[in-house]
Amino acid sequence: MSEARRDRLLTLLHAGSTLPMPERLCRVCAEAIGVDGAGLSLMTDQLHRETIGASDDVAARIEELQLTLGEGPCIDAFTTGQPVLAPDLDERIAVTRWPGFTPGAVEAGARAVFGFPLGLGAARVGALDLYRGAPGELAEDEITDALLLAELATADILGAPTIPLEDPATDWGAEDLRGRHAIVHQATGMLMIQLDVTIEEAFVRLRAYAFANDRRLPDVAADVVARRLRIE
């Protein structure tokens, strides 16, 4: 069941588009999830923030508002590492929480906004925002799809620029970034100290090494953890 869902999303993502990944992903969100649009922004702790994809003008405006004002579901999702769901921007809680963002978003045409963090454990790279012109909650399966798409976006962001994910031969999501192998994340932590970089950078370097040497990520990770391999 879960495999079928993931395959469906991957098929939509691969479907002969020439748009860059972030744009493509935002459009797939709109199509697949039954929201009106989506936006994708990169963020780091150093407050560097940049929108890299938006499915339409409303989504672009939602991203712009959040990055300019420094508030909104997307910002909160990034900061907390948890999804932030605002099914009705007319509700008092939305206005109280995001006094600048909420009226601006409503004026732009959004009545519901849902922010999903992009990250892997402590590695945080940004957020994915979904919006609707009408109020209403996301259904359980829509949330599941959004979480999967957020994962795919994370995979792409934590691979570029060393891994050419624009290459049609690349199978997004084939590489298991998340859960099956604890050793991958342990190796990432070790690399962070060995190379004296951020956890995000460490993960990119680990993947880059695996890709450059045509090896599976868990196998490289096992060598790092067993101290058979030292990545420079």
């Binding site: 702790d45 999804p83 454990g121 979480l147 298991d176 932590g189």
Partner: protein
Amino acid sequence: MTADRERRVIEAFVALSDTLLDDFDVLDFLHMLVLRCVDLLDAATAGLMLADGRGALQVMASSAERTRLLELFELQNDEGPCLESYRDGRQVASDDLEQDLDRWPTFAPEALAAGFRAVNSFPLRLRRQVIGALNLFRTNASGLDDADVELAQALADIATIGLLQERALTASVEHSSQLRTALDSRVLLEQAKGVVGEAAGVEMDEAFALLRGYARRNNRRLTDVASDVVRRRLTIRHLLPAGQRD
């Protein structure tokens, strides 16, 4: 049930309900639950696995954090009692893995090589879904009696409830995002183990002990300590108990 065992069961449930408070941390909770499983059910090792969005099983808690043991749990993504329990939503048992080499041609030899002779798996059930499985290993060839089976399933059910206590930022309950947050917490913990392992020059199970020890001494959530370590707000000097620094 003997009076002593009954007391330990009660203590376990009280301790478990204690964790459903303000500073609830899913990693602390599940770690304590698997330790209770080992204590109450006379198991050598207990592990809890949760399915991610793609249906792959991820270790959420283990009574021992040795790398080889975690890999034995993860191996069950391809074959094993845990996989069957998760996939079919039923209890799966082998009283003697020597007799089940055909059943699990990859998993059984690995488990035997690790010193385990018997295994039981219990599904983590949520309404009509199965979200993971609880795995118990024993070193002697034996089965669980009915009372133990019932207790193990009850503990698995408590694990499921605990997993849904993960704080949600909206009033309504979205299971997907709660489970995803729990899985992500575990990824965070693994990252922190790597950081500590490298910085302190220790193996992963020792790294876990250092993280957990610090969390307990300072009355902090394990998840928060892990986050601070990876974000470099806590260094190895902080984690080492006084007297072991330099």
